[in-house]
Symmetry: C2
Subunit: 402 residues, 2 copies
């Protein structure tokens, strides 16, 4: 038994107690109908505001007008055009603007990509180093206290509105990495569920898969007798399963939108990760598929997650069975069959909201699998809880979902 498996074994069998943890999340959440108007209280009258947004959908759905009306009187500079999977070379242009105009508040209006990009802009603008790519890639780099920033969320998915993490891409090198900044929480985030009504169904289904995957990454790991966290994660998963049909219908209800928006934020703001082991293999593998093949983030997760469940079923056996019993209400007495059914139900759930779940459906073949495995080997990456997802396991996972 190698060391990694020994640790896993010990964790499962002998020292299966809750991990020590530290939790802090100072973001103010302002939730509900009509709350965008609250910007007039939340952003100081004397602030020089940089307004960051994406491709301009906020100008078609009425959000932009509400934001501008609420910010009346402030000096506003606009920076639109931040792309999905925000690009480093786009963001450094905004960093220059912040320095030139002495911006002292940034308001991100958009989804996870806009807020992630804003986190980078806010930190890099307070950074003296020459190569700001180090903020993202050099884990030993001391992160600066960022320019104060807030968010108006328009696309529930990533929880970037209430955490201190961000994922930045660099198209020039086909790379995509996450970074965290201890002081990088939004000061506030405004969540108005009515914005969900104007979203294309593809973005809603991407959001559902992303939130579902975030929750699984913090749940389908070691059995550590973390009862509260287990119930809470299961609550998010069950809410998503229950709300998905209404959200994908022609007329989603306000309550479905509100529950959806709340699962998104609660799925990755630290509220369900207290004392648990975390996985993140699905995300790490998925990021490569986005970087190499241009798939949406949610699309990659719908493919990879069932593969991770299937290939890592022995290591995740206890939690997979609990997932089968408590999330999918599977009463089948044969444990292996119950787990098979839970994996199948997960894949079917993703398909029910219009997601493809196989690489072949996107025309992705063996060459990409080879490239991903080689990248993980070169970087010395073993991902998943306790590094159990080795490059070889990564290959098996991708082969499983060809």
């Amino acid at each position: 038994m190698n060391r990694r498996l020994l640790i896993l074994y010990l964790n499962n069998k002998y020292i299966s107690c809750m991990n020590n943890f530290e939790f802090r999340n100072p973001t103010r959440l302002v939730f509900g109908k009509g709350q965008i108007a609250r910007l007039s209280d939340l952003v100081g009258q004397d602030k020089k505001v940089l307004l960051t947004y994406g491709g301009g959908s906020i100008k078609r759905n009425g959000v932009y007008e509400q934001v501008i009306a609420a910010l009346k009187g402030r000096e506003i500079t606009e920076f639109g055009g931040i792309e999905a999977n925000p690009d480093y070379d786009t963001l450094i242009k905004a960093v220059e603007i912040c320095k030139q105009k002495k911006i002292d508040f940034i308001l991100a209006v958009g989804g996870g990509s806009i807020i992630d990009g804003t986190k980078f802009i806010a930190a890099a603008a307070k950074c003296d180093c020459e190569d700001t790519w180090k903020l993202i890639t050099d884990k030993s780099f001391k992160m600066p206290v960022p320019i104060d920033f807030g968010a108006v969320l328009t696309l529930p998915a990533t929880a970037s509105e209430m955490n201190n993490g961000a994922v930045i891409s660099r198209r020039a090198t086909k790379e995509k990495f996450a970074f965290h900044n201890p002081d990088g929480f939004p000061c506030f985030s405004i969540l108005d569920p009515t914005v969900v009504l104007s979203l294309p169904k593809k973005q809603i289904s991407n959001g559902i898969v992303d939130i579902y995957a975030h929750t699984l990454e913090q749940y389908l790991t070691t059995c550590l007798d973390t009862k509260v966290m287990d119930y809470w994660a299961e609550g998010l998963l069950k809410t998503l399963i229950e709300e998905a049909p209404n959200l994908m219908s022609d007329n989603p209800s306000y309550d479905s939108c509100a529950n959806f928006m709340l699962t998104a934020t609660m799925g990755l703001n630290g509220f369900i990760s207290m004392g648990v082991d975390e996985d993140w293999a699905t995300h790490m593998i998925g990021h490569e598929l986005t970087a190499l093949c241009g798939l949406d983030h949610g699309e990659t997760l719908a493919i990879v997650h069932p593969g991770v469940m299937a290939v890592m079923r022995q290591e995740k056996h206890g939690k997979l069975l609990q997932y089968a019993r408590r999330v999918w209400n599977i009463t089948e007495s044969d444990q292996e069959k119950a787990i098979d059914m839970a994996i199948e139900k997960t894949e079917n759930f993703f398909r029910s909201i219009g997601k493809k779940t196989r690489l072949g459906e996107y025309g992705i073949g063996n060459d990409i699998i080879d490239t991903i495995v080689e990248r993980f080997e070169q970087r010395g990456w073993a991902v998943g809880e306790h590094g159990i997802v080795t490059p070889e396991k990564t290959r098996q996972i991708l082969e499983r979902v060809k």
Copy 2:
């Protein structure tokens, strides 16, 4: 139909959507074995520290020594003797010490009473008004930004370690009131589950009842389709039911202590109250029983809560049925019988951990019921969600649990 019932009816039948809400909780939670030593990082080296505690149990269970060792080098003033249900006349002595010694950090070491008392001390010491009782009783009073304070929790129950509320008693007038301070969150709280091992069983059972009641106050209200919050509240209730036998045994496991401690904090830190209606009738009535008869807080809740369920069953019908089905797994098809069973199971749960559930068991009679109802009438109090628990309903509740 009077106005109050009309609002309730409208809420239930027509506008049953999640309430708008605002959430913010900046407290840093430091959780796990051996974490008291972290005080050496968390409290600045140059701080003049007031150490607040209660009857001295911390000097018998080893916590005091760990605290003093971790704070080595700081100027420390001790203020012990804060009682359960902290008394205003005790606390104002500590306020004087803070002013005289220019205290700039207060460390509360104890349970909810010590942390509650510390919240009052920290605010009152920054207050110029002559009558500091106004902080508690005058809702229009502008609360001061308190002296920075943190906590080492020794008794899981109230969640005072991660919220901005406190309950202060005044024995001279037999009164007990809650107050909230927007800026009154602990900077940090250290939660080491091993402290639970040294607690008397009576304190553990009081804690279990208190946490259970906090959760019900935020759950057994209007049906507003708040799926995430419902699942999360049910998760806390189920965790308490599952862990209670181990916690009340001679050798509680570390995991039971950790889950217990986490339910306590999560039960009243705002994490389960997003967008829901809140009740608090049980607590308001219970506070009177403590103020008038000296019962422990947890003892009062074990009596009053089953009474509230029984008397308010029509107004709380939807949630009571959900509680029966999802927390107690009651499959009885007759809805009224299912609710009866859930109320009975709740009372039996409290009795199973050694709590009395009837006023008569404490020798409390009609005179006290009359006094409480008269007090509510004089204060013009209608408690519960949307004020549905009128003084007359309060009388029925207390009659029900005689």
